[in-house]
Homo-oligomer: 161 residues x 4
DNA sequence: GATGAATGAGATTTCATTCAT
DNA sequence: AATGAATGAAATCTCATTCAT
């Protein structure tokens, strides 16, 4: 059943946000949706599969913001808004970015996304390095959710000068 | 003997950089310096103590760059240079930043450091939010060591305009 | 399965009688019933839980002898008989009594039992201190199973004079 | 140095009383007298040797009370007084009695003492089984220091009737 | 006599995964 | 789809003991 899968992905998402990927326990995920932990393996053969599914869903949540039709202002404002309404998404991304360093399956998901993101940013900016600057700042701003929106706005102002 | 302690800290540093804090194994640390894993506990009662010592030493390596007497240009150039010569330091910082979210002992080390860093940046910049912008960008740039120096330079140019 | 639990409790009982609570090894308990030692934790999350279950079962074996409806003669004869047929029970009790000094969970099991025992003895004896005398003697007689029944009989004779 | 030995024995005595033989740590004993734990092995090659020395000293403290020249009244009064002034001695005895079950070296110390004790009691009492009764009650009374003196007095009264 | 470093055996506990039902 | 029992590999930490200094 695909509803169960969705439940498990959401529970895993929340637990990763709360305890990190390293602190994720399949038992806790199963318990959160009220099934036995061995049943979880019916839906996701392995823990890595579950994490991949979580990454996949989280990446999808970002996609609208990364479309090529936006202006830079729209793009950064959208991200700043997302940081306020969905801080969990950025917490998760930090986890996944770090995890990607050592897990090729996750890297295979994250890498292309960053490439697409960089490509659409490059189209909006005069200097290609500014695409990397935006990406670095957005990722780094996730460390401090409180100041993140202001930081993105400041970057936008600098880039438009 | 304090030499042994230093050896263990360095081995743990390398292993965290290679496998992450989550992937750190006390046995591996002990093996790396050629002692029994139980002897490690003679020097560091607990694994957390060892990680703290690693964090402490890494933070010390940054301190010279964070002194209040520098200009912004010097500061960012120093960091860019460090990213090239000591990329391990930035990998470690990403691990520690994430770890600090859930480990108060590490948070107690990292927090004050960021505060000091922010304070000295604020003294060098017209708008306080730019201090946060620099910190976010430096932290985020660690994800992509290849483009990091160029990104820092681009940020510097924008801030000096 | 509750049969497995019962098996484990019995094996633990025997091992405590043989090697003491201090000498109890979870591995040995698991091995005695032929399962992996990690499976034991499926049935008893912690070693303390297992010991508690052993204490609980042993206390239950005494309960019939401590009922309030008996005469003192019946009571002491029953205990003397038990000392001969089930000396392991008294060995275990000595272990648990000593353990209760430092383990509040065990103390919480043993304390009320002694209180009930004292209450029913008090009802059978003219002087309340004689209840404590009986309890002390029964507990102390466990040290020497060979002379224990004769000792209890001698005490009974003195109390009936 | 024999003063150091005495210090170590006393510290071990106190720690056994506080944490039981099972909870005795040589490190704690050494720390209590302010020396390194490896130095302890200079005075007592093995932990068992230390425990034996503790047992030996404790037994000596009882010896005056067990001399053959006393009357039963004196004997029990002396023990009752000791229970009040030196409850630690009885706590220790319970530990040692239980330990003797599995440690032949301790058994070799405790056995002869009980034999001598029984012999001198037998000389003071009409029925030999009363010697065992007294011993059982004294040992059992140690469980409840609060009621112990009254219990011994009650036993004395019964035996003198 | 004393120290600190080292050892090695071991103990409990955790956890993803498998399998029979 | 689901369960519960079982597994096995591993991980941290403990502790008495030894040894060189």
């Amino acid at each position: 059943m695909t509803a169960r899968r969705a439940q498990l992905i959401e529970a895993a998402h929340d637990l990763i946000v709360a305890h990190g990927i390293a602190g994720l326990r399949t038992r806790a995920v199963a318990a959160a949706v009220g099934i036995d932990h061995s049943t979880l393996h019916h839906h996701f053969p392995t823990k890595a599969d579950l994490i991949e599914a979580v990454a996949d869903r989280a990446l999808a949540a970002f996609r609208p913001a990364e479309g090529p039709t936006q202006t830079l202002t729209e793009h950064l404002r959208h991200l700043a808004a997302l940081m306020t309404t969905r801080p969990d998404l950025f917490t998760l991304m930090r986890e996944l970015d770090l995890h990607a360093t050592r897990d090729t399956a996750i890297a295979a998901l994250m890498g292309p996304r960053d490439d697409r993101w960089r490509a659409s940013l490059t189209a909006l900016l005069p200097h290609p390095v500014h695409a990397d600057l935006v990406i670095a700042t957005v990722k780094g701003a996730g460390n401090h959710p409180a100041t993140a929106p202001a930081v993105l706005k400041a970057l936008l102002d600098l880039l438009r000068k």
